[in-house]
């Protein structure tokens, strides 16, 4: 089962959902903080809900306040980057470029992508952590790549 877990994790990296930062998080996990990664990721979900709502709300305004949109997205990009959410981060960057160009349609389109990538990642990570729990505790639940 451990091998399945490792494969699951590897594919998240191979498919580009996660980047090196996720490994950094894992390296901070140890016996004194055995659930650190999951704790941080859980915080990320909570934070993301709030930020996504803010952006959604801001995208409903007319005219669009690009500075505000950019600022919200800056925060979301930051937290996504902090947990290694690679694809989400890429879409966030794209969104910010549209903000700077004052392209409202581009923003709205890209935001759909942001949400999609976020939802996909969340699903995959939830499955991963659930599986990790089932696979049983190990002295270090994560192996360096």
């Amino acid at each position: 089962m451990q091998r399945q877990l490792a494969n699951m994790k590897q594919s998240l990296f191979d498919q580009g959902y996660l980047d090196e930062q996720f490994i950094q998080l894992e390296e901070l996990q140890d016996d004194t903080n055995p659930n650190f990664v999951e704790e941080v990721v859980t915080l990320y979900y909570r934070d993301s809900v709030r930020l996504i709502q803010n952006i959604e709300h801001a995208l409903d305004k007319n005219p669009l306040d690009f500075a505000k949109l950019d600022s919200h997205m800056h925060q979301f990009k930051g937290s996504s980057s902090s947990i290694g959410a690679r694809k989400v981060k890429i879409e966030c960057t794209q969104f910010r470029e549209y903000c700077r160009a004052g392209n409202g349609e581009g923003c709205k389109r890209t935001f759909q992508q942001v949400k999609k990538e976020y939802a996909t990642l969340k699903k995959k990570l939830e499955a991963y952590f659930q599986f990790a729990r089932q696979a049983g505790p190990v002295e270090k639940a994560c192996r360096p790549k």
Binding site: Q24, L25, L28, V40, L43, D47, G78, S82, I83
Partner: protein
């Protein structure tokens, strides 16, 4: 009473409006055996540090003045740059203007790699600038900055010439490392000490300054 150079006795104040980044920084620092306090804003940081409006760079006191209610010794402040209200830069500035706080080393973090931003911060007296997300290797760079301050006096070198490196704990001497970054910092720190800055400087988006020698005249 005097803090020995034991890792576990170094106390870092981390400032970041992002909950996730606070958690991350806290873990990074604790892993490296630092004591950590996290706050979510510059104003809370100043509060924690016991900052007072009247603390200007006038006195030569390095010890905590009676006005200052700082109870905990903070050996380093690490702050995010982009924060609502008071930015990391503003916090840095306020600390450098305060006679009781300006000897505390400050490190800035930012998710954006903007050279002018980095220069501005170093210019204002930041010891270092890290790109986010922070890594363990960044945390390893903090110790030298903290050690430097433990032996630093107000009358720091005003000339850029390097002095002999000293390992002893003598109070009156200035402790230097061979850090290349430090020589630039020395020049800037020397000028900062001579400057009279008004606190109501606000948030200047761009600071134009003359060259880094002699007094910097700030016009209101």
């Amino acid at each position: 009473m005097g803090m020995a150079a034991a890792d576990s006795e170094f106390h870092v104040l981390a400032v970041d409006d992002s909950l996730i980044d606070r958690k991350l920084v806290e873990r990074l620092l604790k892993t490296s055996s630092f004591q950590v306090t996290t706050v979510d804003s510059g104003s809370k940081a100043l509060e924690f540090l016991g900052w007072h409006e009247d603390d200007r760079s006038n006195s030569n006191e390095t010890s905590v003045s009676p006005k200052n209610h700082q109870e905990v010794e903070v050996n380093l402040v690490i702050t995010d740059y982009c924060m609502p209200g008071m930015t990391g830069y503003d916090l840095l500035k306020k600390m450098k203007e305060s006679s009781s706080l300006r000897n505390i080393p400050v490190v800035i973090m930012s998710s954006e790699n903007v050279p002018s931003r980095i220069t501005r911060c170093l210019e204002e007296g930041a010891e270092d600038f890290f790109l986010k997300p922070m890594k363990l290797s960044d945390v390893n760079k903090l110790m030298p900055h903290m050690m430097k301050t433990k032996y630093k006096e107000d009358n720091i070198i005003e000339k850029p010439e390097k002095q002999e490196k000293q390992e002893s704990n003598k109070e009156e001497t200035t402790q230097e490392s061979d850090d290349v970054q430090l020589s630039l910092q020395e020049q800037l720190n020397g000028n900062n000490n001579n400057k009279r800055k008004s606190i109501d400087d606000g948030l200047p988006p761009v600071r134009t300054r003359p060259r880094y020698n002699g007094l910097t005249v700030m016009s209101n």
